[in-house]
């Protein structure tokens, strides 16, 4: 029965490197001298005299400072808008789309400034979920690096002068190109069309950093929309659909519905993933097979042969055969997706789905997705035209090809020679700084706009704040240059009268603006192009691929994505879900390769691609990385994005190869050790937690179906009356909860580890950003972390056959392809909290509603509580992150009046020397209770939600009042009691208010089908 796998958090732990052992034993980070950390040559310890001097000065300063109370002003509105009341938050529906993922959002504004984004539950696509990147975009609004006025040759210029010069030059320009990422706004497209009718030689070129050109081409010019919720079997060939591919939040919502189990619904989808580097999706797959990028075509072909038949191919894999059989057994209820940009691969995938009868159920071609429209061939053509100077004018609309196109260097060298170059980008980035004119666009939270992410699904964006800077909405700029002086708002409304109907338009418009989403379409149907024929694609792919060289694959990270928001410190410090690395990219190398070449984690490698371009990046040993391959994330190495993002990591997009006219995100590469060493700022293995088996639990679906009561292992303690649950034996007196008893349940089965909650928490609770060095020093401040555990294939049940020592030794061996489990961990709000008993000043106490309260103004910073916390969820303010100039580059938003606008006014910004931790969003609890009291009723379930639970795309986190028997959490805990519900470290009997639900994998007998 015993089958808990051994988990390990990282290679260091597995290898028991001396450094890790040292850290594990000390449990709490060593004291790191403040000065040494920053490379100062001063003596490491402050001498006594310095201390006395400082103390004397401190006392004098404090005395002087306290003599006079500063005069504080209270400045009311001159003419108060009716809907704004100081202290009351207003929510406005809006839409986030920056060429990557689409999210329908609710903008929470306080006193006229957006402070947080939440998922819009009205949206039929994202349904209240929100990605980490969308969450963080509110901070980009207050980015001081945004261009704050119009410029000519990077110097401030008058708007009218810019307009008149541009109009004169446009008239003489000849061929004009507008370059943008995918635009899904129907009205913006109309604006561009109007511009093109005024200047008939205008061409609009869209390109995507991670292109889906192949997918579009293979499906006759449309991007199929997928429905994972209908799929019993999912096979993904390198598509990271939960993390970065097309519409991750929408997919995650759908995927989660098929993954949730209960004793009433003991079914779940089976997910196969074939991929090169360990992606978020691969980490969630039931069965994951590492595949080289060069083999991906062969794998697709083999699957095609197995399902459709007819082609030839030599690739053989037992898992693939099994997957194909299951696909065939679930016709119309299965789904095959591929992340490849090769039209041939995508054509085969389309043919497989067609043959399985999935079109119409899980694949929808009638209502295609519109989130990727980039055309590699046209963009390549344009780059060549720019090089040949056959283009007279180029307008970059939120596009930065100098940085993010593989041929960026060509553009950079040719741009200064063009007669007219205009940037509508929000900052003078790599491309914008090379343009003569810059007419910066508003941030999307300052703009009106519409979106159609999927045919038939419209979405609106409305301004939640007046423009902060002297910018102008790009659409208005284009309209002005086209000679149309209507505001974009009027233009948009005029367009929408066609969608909503002219009669009763105002009411319909008001409702649309209020809800943020409308069913209907405003885009013309895409003209179909010839789809790639599966037969010829199969023939093209059957050519044998050469092997033997190291292959490099470029991938996108969940946080940084394509790098357009690299100046957002929240995203830079969001740990990668899999590698747990922050601040920069690195070369993911499989363990075998590192061992064979005698490389160690942190060694800087020079990676030279087949096209001769190279980057130097530190090495990270990535379990699950396919043999003979390495992977590097795109989106780093920005040079002109702002203080936060500049110089973090290296840009690897130039390493991508252009095959024909399409971009291939894989290449062969040569790796050389440079001898340099750079520590990767990882958050994993910072917080050791005693013994893993009591922390995360998992079981197989087969076992769950057999008996749900046996999937979770419950610790028992010996008592005079026999073995009992630890909670039955207690030294402490129990609390009595009369009013509320707040609690949280985290379903490990539906948590995909995407990190949306981490950013949501950071935004809600004013959590400071600490920067790379402090992350290395293990002093990150996130209140919530997502622990990622790798497992090995060996089990304790091998003791009898293999012997105990041999099994333990086997457990030490790195698994080539480990199982991964994610566990969000925040303060567990223990009823018998170890932290509360050790605080000498009672700064952390228990509330009558089950919260473990942290009182910053009482805390004196002994850190006893953090030392005594078994979960390591307490964070200490080693510096005053909002005034110490060392943090100005990374936490700059807390330094300026502009950036401070994002802070939640209901939550204190913590001072240096105090402890902080998850408060279960007590400010939201208090607000919800107050609203209920004002209306003279009890709070309704679902009214009070923590920030992490609100934005979770998979609804893995359930928050509520455990004292209300009708609440969702009470029902869930009643249902799962004795089945999947468990507490982390139950045997130490701290009785947490956070409950976890055992992860269930849809595998047959606990063993995976790996190669």
């Amino acid at each position: 029965m015993q089958e808990s796998p051994k988990y390990w958090k990282g290679i260091e732990e597995l290898e028991s490197s001396p450094e890790f052992v040292k850290n594990a034993l000390t449990e709490f980070a060593d004291f790191l001298p403040v000065k040494e950390t920053y490379g100062s040559s001063d003596a490491a310890v402050a001498p006594r005299r310095d201390f006395l001097k400082l103390m004397g000065f401190g006392i004098a300063a404090a005395t002087l400072a306290s003599c006079e109370t500063p005069v504080r002003k209270a400045i009311p509105y001159l003419n108060k808008p009716q809907e704004v009341d100081p202290g009351i938050a207003n929510f406005y529906a809006s839409t986030y789309f920056t060429g990557q993922d689409y999210n329908s959002v609710l903008v929470k504004t306080r006193d006229g400034r957006p402070i947080k984004l939440e998922g819009n539950p009205e949206s039929p696509l994202t349904r209240g979920g929100l990605s980490a990147r969308a969450q963080a975009s509110v901070l980009s609004l207050y980015d001081g690096a945004r261009l704050q006025h119009f410029t000519i040759d990077r110097k401030k210029a008058d708007k009218n002068r810019v307009d008149s010069e541009i109009r004169t030059k446009l008239a003489q320009a000849g061929r004009i190109a507008i370059v943008s990422p995918t635009i899904i706004s129907p009205s913006t497209k109309k604006v561009i069309a109007e511009f093109a009718s005024r200047y008939p030689n205008t061409e609009h070129v869209q390109y995507d950093v991670i292109s889906a050109s192949g997918l579009l081409q293979a499906n006759g010019g449309v991007l199929p929309s997928y429905n994972f919720s209908q799929a019993n079997v999912i096979v993904s060939l390198g598509a990271d659909f939960l993390g970065t591919w097309l519409s991750p939040v929408e997919f995650a919502k759908q995927y989660a519905t098929t993954r949730k189990v209960s004793s009433d619904k003991k079914t779940m989808s089976r997910h196969y993933q074939f991929e090169t580097t360990m992606s978020l999706t691969g980490a969630n797959a039931d069965t994951r097979v590492p595949v080289k990028p060069s083999e991906m075509g062969a794998v697709t072909l083999a699957l095609y042969n197995a399902v459709v038949g007819g082609g030839s191919g030599s690739y053989k894999n037992a898992t693939l055969t099994k997957a194909a059989n299951e696909l065939k057994a679930n016709r119309g209820r299965s789904l095959v997706v591929s992340g490849s940009n090769d039209a041939n691969v995508q054509a085969l995938v389309a043919a497989i789905n067609q043959a399985l009868g999935n079109v119409g159920t899980t694949v929808d071609l009638a209502n295609p997705s519109l989130v990727r429209q980039g055309n590699d061939a046209r963009m390549t053509q344009l780059v060549n035209d720019i090089k040949n100077k056959s283009v007279g004018a180029v307008i970059f609309y939120n596009a930065n090809p100098v940085y993010d196109h593989p041929m960026g260097a060509d553009i950079a060298s040719a741009l200064p020679g063009l007669p007219l170059t205009i940037s509508l980008n929000d900052r003078l980035d790599e491309t914008g700084s090379l343009c003569k004119y810059a007419a910066p666009d508003h941030h999307y939270l300052e703009s009106w706009n519409d979106y159609e992410p999927k045919r038939g699904y419209l979405s609106l964006a409305q301004p939640a704040i007046s423009p902060l800077f002297a910018t102008r909405q790009a659409q208005e700029s284009l309209l002005t240059w086209a000679g149309n002086n209507t505001s974009y708002y009027d233009y948009l409304r005029a367009q929408w009268s066609g969608v909503l109907g002219a009669s009763g338009f105002q009411a319909a418009w008001d409702k649309a603006v209020h809800d943020g989403v409308v069913m209907g379409t405003a885009s013309p149907a895409t003209a179909p192009t010839t789809a790639v024929d599966a037969g010829s694609a199969a023939a093209a792919l059957s050519a044998p691929t050469k092997s033997g060289e190291v292959e490099l694959v470029l991938y996108e990270k969940v946080g940084i994505g394509n790098g357009s928001e690299a100046n957002n410190p929240w995203l830079q410090e969001l740990p990668d879900p899999v590698s747990k690395a922050t601040w920069g990219n690195y070369v993911c190398v499989p363990y075998d390769m590192a061992k064979a070449n005698d490389w160690e984690q942190g060694d800087v490698l020079k990676v030279t691609a087949a096209n001769g371009k190279s980057v130097e990046l530190p090495l990270l040993i990535q379990p699950g990385q396919a043999k003979g391959t390495v992977a590097i994330a795109v989106g780093y190495g920005r040079k002109q994005t702002g203080k936060v993002g500049d110089g973090v990591g290296a840009n690897v997009l130039p390493l991508a190869t252009m095959v024909g006219n399409s971009i291939v995100y894989a290449t062969t590469a040569k790796l050389d050790k440079t001898g340099a060493n750079e520590t990767i700022a990882q958050t994993q293995t910072h917080h050791t937690i005693m013994d893993r088996k009591a922390v995360v639990q998992e079981a197989t679906l087969a076992k769950y179906i057999e008996n749900p009561k046996e999937v979770t292992e419950y610790e028992k303690v010996a008592t005079p009356d026999g073995l009992e649950a630890p909670a039955r034996v207690s030294l402490w007196q129990d609390y009595e909860y009369k009013n509320h008893h707040w609690g949280m349940a985290v379903d490990l089965n539906s948590c995909i580890g995407c990190g949306s909650c981490v950013i949501g928490c950071q935004a809600e609770n004013n959590v400071a950003v600490v920067g790379k060095q402090e992350v290395i020093n293990r002093r990150e401040m996130h209140w919530m972390r997502i622990d990622r555990y790798y497992s090995s294939d060996h089990h304790r049940d091998e003791f009898e056959t293999e012997g105990k020592l041999a099994t333990y030794a086997a457990m030490e061996n790195p698994a080539e392809n480990p199982k991964v489990i994610f566990q969000p961990l925040m303060c567990q709000h223990c009823n018998h909290a170890p932290c509360e008993t050790v605080c000498p000043v009672l700064a952390t106490t228990h509330s009558s509603e089950g919260l473990n309260q942290m009182t910053y103004n009482r805390c004196v910073g002994t850190r006893y509580c953090a030392n005594n916390c078994p979960y390591k969820v307490r964070r200490f303010n080693w510096f005053s992150y909002y005034t110490n100039e060392k943090f100005e580059n990374v936490n700059g938003h807390m330094f300026t009046d502009l950036g401070r606008m994002v802070l939640n006014p209901d939550v204190t910004v913590r001072a240096r020397g105090v402890m902080e931790k998850c408060s279960l969003c007590v400010q939201r609890i208090q607000l919800g209770k107050l609203e209920a009291k004002k209306q003279k009723r009890r709070p309704k379930d679902g009214e009070i939600v923590s920030a992490c639970a609100q934005s979770c795309p998979t609804e893995a986190i359930v928050f509520g009042d455990m004292r209300d028997p009708e609440s969702r959490i009470s029902k869930l805990l009643r249902r799962e009691d004795g089945e999947r519900a468990f507490h982390v470290l139950d045997q130490i009997n701290v009785q947490p208010n956070i409950t976890y639900l055992t992860k269930i994998r849809n595998v047959e007998n606990g063993n995976e089908f790996v190669i």
Binding site: P76, N79, I88, N739, Q926, L930
Partner: protein
């Protein structure tokens, strides 16, 4: 010579007693006056009318023709919240006197008028146009009131007709006059009594001491006259007390030093605890706005200007557009009012000096206390209706907050949120009041997060 020296002692003693007496008296005065202030604080001036008026209304209701008492009471509150700024029942203020309104206009006219007067004027209604012109083309603002609410307001005005003494203003002033002086008298009487007692005591003591000294001197003189005293007795008789001994005694010095140190320590601690306390802070504001005039004499409801006090965390400072509701007509020539006009013309918001400052680490929500707790503004802000220039009345320290939370019973009446809690409390511990703190109101994260 000896006797002269000896006689200084009684004088010293006398002086000491006199000092004690004066200190005692001043203490007594403080004790006597303190309650007077706090009593005045909780006497709701602007709202006293609200308490007093229903009684008056009840009296008047039957006379007015059987208006529903509940409706009148509801109308009273609505009238004060919405109408009283511009209308009185029996007197022309900004708008016409409302007495006899039901006779002048039918209800079918009044309701649309109150909801949107400009619409009625625009519709060309002759009476409306006449009224509009008569009152200087000053528009009456629109009110989002329901028909029933308007009817209850009218019922209230009808009930108040003709009773000039019963106007809210009169009622309130009577209330304040009636309660506050009584309190003052009460407290002074008590003070005087203590004073008298102290004086009598001191006098008795002085008499006692003087008598003792006289007796001692007489005894000495008698003894000196006697010649049969032994040497030792004479020595004793002529003995002079050596005061330098006290001065030199280690114990006395020790005590003195200890007392001194303790006093200094106490004073420093007191001073240190007072740092940052701004009780009584009364800055000069950019515009000499008088709460006494507005909230006191004119009985304008606090929420008329501080619009969000019942719904938000902050009781906002009104924006000039609220001032303009009245001051576009009233006292337009006043130099202080002109400052508001200037601010509006120049688009420069008025920078008021904030009086009540809580540290950032403390969360305070007005609506929790006003709407849910049912507290009067004056409980914390003091007799605001008597302040020409507002000052910080309460200490606003954590101790002050906690004290109130410990003592104040929860306002649970009619609030379904508390129903079960009250039941639980009553079954377990009905003898003790269900205070804010017994519902967790003194826990850290109720105010610090």
């Amino acid at each position: 010579m000896d006797s002269i020296r000896f006689r200084t002692l009684p004088k010293l003693l006398l002086a000491l007693f006199l000092t004690v007496a004066t200190v005692g008296q001043s203490l007594a005065q403080e004790v006597g006056s303190a309650p007077a202030v706090s009593k005045e604080g909780v006497t709701p001036g602007a709202t006293a009318g609200a308490d007093g008026a229903p009684a008056a209304a009840e009296g008047a209701a039957p006379a007015a023709g059987g208006g529903d008492a509940a409706a009148i009471q509801a109308g009273d509150a609505l009238f004060k919240g919405n109408c009283a700024q511009c209308h009185a029942v029996n007197e022309k203020v900004v708008g016409p006197a409302l007495a006899g309104i039901t006779k002048r206009r039918p209800m079918s006219w009044i309701i649309p008028w109150i909801k949107n007067s400009s619409k009625v004027v625009a519709s060309g209604d002759a009476y409306a146009v006449k009224l509009f012109n008569e009152y200087g083309k000053q528009q009456m603002p629109s009110f989002a009131l329901s028909d029933d609410e308007i009817k209850s307001i009218i019922a209230y005005t009808v009930s108040q007709e003709g009773s000039a003494n019963n106007t809210p203003t009169g009622g309130a002033t009577a209330g304040t006059d009636g309660t506050a002086p009584a309190n003052e008298n009460g407290s002074t009487e008590a003070g005087q009594y203590i004073d008298l007692l102290m004086i009598v005591l001191v006098v008795v003591l002085i008499v006692l001491v003087v008598t003792l000294v006289i007796i001692a001197n007489l005894m000495k003189d008698v003894l000196r006259g006697r010649k049969d005293l032994s040497g030792r007795d004479v020595e004793q008789l002529n003995q002079r007390y050596d005061f330098s001994k006290i001065y030199k005694s280690g114990a006395v010095r020790g005590i003195a030093v200890t007392v001194f140190i303790l006093v200094v320590l106490y004073e420093s601690v007191q001073a240190a605890m007072g740092i940052g306390l701004t009780q009584g802070y009364q800055p000069t504001q950019p515009i000499a706005f008088s709460h006494k005039l507005h909230a006191g004499e004119n009985q304008i409801n606090c929420a008329y200007c501080h619009t969000s006090v019942y719904k938000s965390k902050s009781a906002n400072i009104p924006s000039p557009n609220i001032c303009m509701n009245c001051h576009s007509q009233i006292k337009t020539e006043s130099p202080e009012i002109k400052k508001i006009y200037r601010a509006i013309e120049r688009k420069q918001p008025i920078q008021w000096v904030r009086i009540h400052n809580l540290p950032d680490l403390a969360y305070f929500n007005h609506s929790q206390h006003t709407q849910v707790g049912g507290l009067e503004c004056q409980t914390c802000h003091g007799p605001i209706q008597n302040m020409d220039v507002v000052y910080q009345y309460s200490a606003l320290t954590m101790g002050w907050c906690i004290n109130c939370h410990r003592e104040t019973p929860l306002n649970t009446k009619g609030n379904a949120y508390y129903d079960n809690l009250v039941k639980l409390h009553d079954t377990k511990n009905s003898a003790v009041p269900f205070t804010v703190s017994s519902n967790g109101g003194t826990e850290c994260s109720k105010c610090h997060y």
